[in-house]
């Protein structure tokens, strides 16, 4: 069994962009550091930021091969620390280097404290057409405990500013199961989110990585997270509420109004291909996965000197690609098409995993119907226990 030839690596049912690439642009700067975040980021330094944007445009231009691109995503860090002119320069570079679709989805992550109406309008003018706003909670006490630089009111104002500027595709990021959060408080935040009627929302159960400062602070101050039973209830309550409000839960942590799923993020879950630009950005294309130099200054130097920016680069084995396709695909409510994925990687999935799936179906964690394997919502809540079977 060899590596599948390229033409067999076909995206199934990816209606939003058959075979097109996604571009991810990393912005590693923050105005303040949150105690729960372990993304690649550092405090803002204007000089470094200027050099960084130049490096980004160069990296994009030299990686370009004219391939179709249907999504561009500015993530971070805090991408809203970029000046509009900087965002525009990056988008121009993308346009020169790739075949950017006319209906490209162009997302930029924002924090409520950097959402002035004029800034948002200018971004939309520069080509941003989707904004993902990190509100995290609508409780000021919870926001303070998270070390966020904004209040719930500011989040509402930011949302209003984005809508006021005419953005018709807004996503809100929220966290569930915060330290010292009750089930009722969690539900109240979800209610506040629904009241704003965003087009898309991400509802994440908080994960505190082992050395997260917030973990230490929570331990010191006695902010405990609710027991598993309550955490499960928070999750189920939240998605029951978004169901009722007409959202579709299409992934473990994501809901959208019809037609408003994140085209960009679907690439990660539908075995798609994407290129990441900037320090620490990851790319996956043609069965090869690589990661850029993590350190901002080193990344900038490497680009300036025309040196390689990939720090690690690895060709994935067929088994790894299959495992990744299964565990990411099963995160989606639509699940995976057993025959299609099996054919793509030359494996009889039914023979290999049929009995495991049978057990999970009996437990109410999965469904096996219409040739697709899917997680139920209860299954999503314990998905690690299920997904670990497939890697």
């Amino acid at each position: 069994m060899g590596v599948p030839r390229n033409e067999r690596v076909r995206r199934d049912g990816d209606v939003e962009g058959d075979g097109a690439l996604g571009l991810y642009v990393h912005v590693p700067f923050c105005a303040a550091i949150c105690g729960y975040c372990n993304f690649n980021r550092g405090l803002l330094d204007e000089d470094l930021k200027r050099a960084y944007v130049t490096a980004l445009t160069r990296e994009i231009e030299r990686s370009g091969d004219g391939r179709r691109v249907d999504s561009i995503f500015f993530g971070g860090g805090t991408p809203s620390l970029l000046a509009v002119e900087e965002v525009a320069r990056v988008l121009d570079a993308c346009g020169r280097a790739f075949d950017v679709a006319p209906d490209v989805e162009t997302t930029l992550e924002m924090n409520p404290e950097s959402c002035s109406p004029s800034y948002v309008s200018a971004l939309l003018g520069a080509g941003i057409n989707r904004i993902s706003l990190g509100v995290q909670s609508f409780d000021d006490g919870e926001l303070a405990r998270l070390g966020r630089a904004h209040s719930a009111e500011q989040a509402r104002e930011a949302f209003a500013a984005i809508r006021g500027a005419g953005c018709g595709n807004v996503s809100l990021d929220m966290m569930l199961w915060l330290p010292a959060q009750s089930r009722a408080a969690c539900a109240a935040s979800v209610e506040a989110l629904v009241a704003l009627a965003p087009d898309h929302a991400s509802l994440y159960m908080l994960e505190l990585y082992p050395n997260a400062p917030l973990r230490e602070e929570a331990a010191r101050r006695g902010w405990s997270q609710a027991p598993d039973e309550d955490a499960a209830a928070m999750y189920l309550d939240a998605f029951a509420r978004t169901d009722a409000a007409g959202y579709e839960q299409y992934e473990i942590s994501n809901v959208a109004r019809p037609g408003r799923r994140s085209r960009h993020n679907l690439k990660y879950w539908r075995d798609g291909e994407w290129l990441g630009f900037g320090c620490g950005a990851h790319s996956t294309r043609g069965g090869v996965r690589w990661k850029n130099l993590s350190e901002t200054a080193r990344y900038v130097d490497a680009v300036e000197q025309g040196a390689r920016v990939a720090e690690t680069r690895r060709r994935l084995s067929v088994e790894e690609r299959l495992g990744d396709a299964l565990f990411t695909g099963l995160r989606l409510a639509e699940g995976i098409d057993v025959a299609v994925v099996g054919r793509r990687y030359g494996v009889d999935l039914e023979a290999r995993y049929g009995s495991d799936v049978g057990r999970f179906v009996d437990a109410g964690w999965m469904t096996d119907a219409g040739g697709r394997w899917r997680l139920t919502r209860a299954g999503m809540l314990i998905s690690n226990a299920v997904l670990s079977t497939f890697v």
């Binding site: 159960m205 990660y268 996956t284 964690w365 809540l381 314990i382 690690n384 226990a385």
Partner: protein, 600 residues
């Protein structure tokens, strides 16, 4: 070499009291090793020994020493194992000597093991030379230590030598004392050969290397010899000495210590304590003191992966080549599949075997809780030993069960006595002696059921006394007890590997503790899991592990995939290492949890 010029001695010491360091100094002084050949603590050759700071295999080193009187002597330093599991081996090593150094750490004082081994040395009529070590350390109390030596062991401390083996202080004086005070061996060189086997090990190239001490007669290469207890004859290929490197000699005569290679295939043929004699002119009687070492502690060893079964068997066979006291036979468990019931001299011996299997043979093992050998009499009058709870007959068929009893000697500072007495009572002990000695040291002697000691006695003793109490014991007999089998059920299925034999009156408390421990160890699963403890058909404790409710990775985007995959792989690996009983996955630690429960 005339035997007048020979001195055979060993060092009696508690762990960490400086035995190996002192041995190193002797090697240096006698020039047995040049400095560049000096490897710290030459006598402890196995990795494991070095890590644990204990000596497991006995060795013998021949030192050539020119004493202050200008004469040359051969000093044979015979190393002794330093743990209670190997006390029989210690007696045989001591039997090969005429003298012993009693090495005591000046800041730690005399410990139980030292007392026990010193008594063994006295029983063997050895000349004992007390040495107070580590006198250079700030906490050293040489005077108090001397008082303890007199008071606890009954030795005259006025001739005790002061030393710091680490600094090399006093080492030469000790060798002088060995020459002057340890008597030379006596024996008839013309008598039929009698040599004591005090150690043996398997060498992949040479076969079994047998360490002997010649008591009478002589042994030389090409001689046909007989091992008297084994009743087997061999032709000697080579005799030699460790100086410390092996070198062949023409013969070993009266009082000499060395090795013998005679095409012995495995160590079980050349057992410690056996007598080597000449096949054509055998001695009338073997040397006294030979015993068959019998395993006293039993546990099941199972491969985590069932396909490793034959690898495990092979590994056990290899270990057995070198360890006559180790026993194993195939065993099947409904919970754990195919494995082996293994017998050990004691808990340390068990740990050593386990670690060697994992380290040297790369085995992943599940070990069941260790137990002892019970003697069962059925109502039909049959008497047999059982080494596993699974072999205990139904209660209705049992007339009586006897359990092995140890006599324990505990040496402790006076302020810890209360807690220790309470522990011994709780463990169903019977007090034999309670003596207050000098320097606030108390010697406590108890008869205790061995299975209670195997369970967790030593750990609790150490915790209770903050490490100050020391323990020595020997198995001293059997007594009858109302013992029952306590079963553990998971979702209604008995987990045979978790059954234990307990005293009837402790069954309830132990059952409750075990069930609650299991609740902590068994991870949440797809369904609620009921955990029950039962004696016969009677359920005496119950708890449940609620069904898994939440185990989700919230974020998984482009940069996370590799990391999240690793997380899932780890989870899968953890699951793979669990044992499935019915539909319940049980982690390996659970099978040893029986050991870690507190009854109170």
């Amino acid at each position: 070499m005339h035997h007048r010029q020979i001195r055979n001695f060993s060092i009696i010491a508690h762990i960490d009291h400086g035995k190996s360091t002192l041995a190193d100094r002797f090697l240096e002084i006698t020039g047995a090793l040049r400095p560049r050949e000096m490897e710290e603590q030459v006598l402890d050759s196995m990795d494991l020994e070095r890590e644990r700071g204990i000596t497991i295999k006995a060795h013998a080193v021949r030192l050539s020493y020119t004493a202050d009187d200008g004469e040359s002597y051969v000093l044979n330093l015979i190393d002794t194992p330093g743990h209670v599991d190997f006390s029989y081996e210690v007696t045989r090593s001591l039997a090969a000597c005429e003298g012993a150094l009693l090495l005591v750490d000046a800041s730690q004082g005399v410990e139980a093991q030292t007392v026990a081994n010193a008594y063994l040395a006295v029983d063997n009529d050895l000349e004992i030379v007390p040495v107070i070590n580590k006198v250079d350390l700030p906490g050293a109390q040489p005077d108090e230590t001397a008082v303890q030596i007199e008071d606890l062991i009954g030795l005259d401390p006025s001739h005790a030598l002061l030393a710091s083996a680490k600094e090399g202080i006093g080492a030469r004086e000790i060798l002088e004392a060995v020459v002057a005070r340890v008597p030379p061996p006596a024996g008839d060189p013309e008598a039929p050969l009698r040599a004591l086997i005090f150690d043996s090990w398997y060498d992949a190239y040479r076969g079994v290397i047998v360490l002997i001490r010649v008591v009478e007669g002589a042994v030389r290469s090409r001689m046909k010899v007989r091992l008297m207890a084994a009743a087997q004859d061999y032709e000697v290929e080579q005799v030699g000495v460790f100086a410390p490197k092996p070198s062949a000699v023409a013969q070993l005569g009266v009082g000499e210590v060395g090795f013998l290679i005679a095409n012995v295939k495995n160590v079980a043929e050349a057992r410690i304590g056996d007598t080597v004699t000449e096949a054509s002119r055998p001695a009338a009687r073997p040397l006294p003191g030979f015993q068959e070492t019998k395993p006293m502690v039993f546990a099941g060893l199972y491969p985590v992966e069932s396909h490793q079964y034959s690898d495990l068997r092979e590994a056990l066979e290899k270990l057995r080549l070198n360890d006559a006291a180790f026993f194993f036979e195939p065993e099947t468990s409904a919970a754990l599949g195919f494995g082996f019931r293994c017998g050990f001299l004691g808990l340390l011996h068990m740990e050593i075997v386990q670690e060697r299997l994992e380290r040297e043979f790369d085995m992943d093992l599940v070990t069941t809780a260790p137990g002892v050998l019970y003697r069962v009499t059925t109502i039909d009058g049959d008497v047999f030993d059982i080494d596993s709870p699974a072999k205990l007959p139904d209660a209705g068929r049992i007339a009586r069960v006897e359990e092995p009893v140890i006599t324990a000697m505990i040496l402790t500072p006076a302020d810890q006595v209360g807690g220790i007495l309470k522990l011994c009572q709780e463990k169903r002990g019977v007090q034999k002696a309670l003596e207050y000695h000098a320097a606030h040291r108390v010697l406590i002697s108890y008869e205790l059921p061995f299975n209670e000691v195997v369970l967790d006695f030593y750990d609790r003793l150490k915790t209770l006394s903050r490490g100050y109490a020391s323990l020595d014991y020997h198995v001293s007999g059997y007594w009858e007890s109302p013992l029952v089998k306590l079963d553990l059920l998971v979702n209604g299925d008995p987990v045979d590997a978790l059954s234990i034999i307990v005293h009837k009156e402790m069954a309830y408390a132990r059952g409750r503790a075990l069930v609650s421990k299991m609740r902590q160890l068994i991870p949440r699963q797809m369904f609620e899991v009921a955990i029950q403890a039962a004696v016969g058909t009677r359920i005496i404790a119950r708890e449940s592990v609620k069904a898994l409710r939440k185990n989700v990775t919230a974020k998984c985007y482009g940069g996370d995939i590799t990391r999240k995959r690793k997380l899932l792989e780890r989870q899968k690996e953890g699951k793979r290492r669990m044992k499935r009983v019915g539909s319940v996955e049980i982690p390996q630690e659970a099978f040893l949890a029986v050991l870690k429960v507190d009854d109170d």
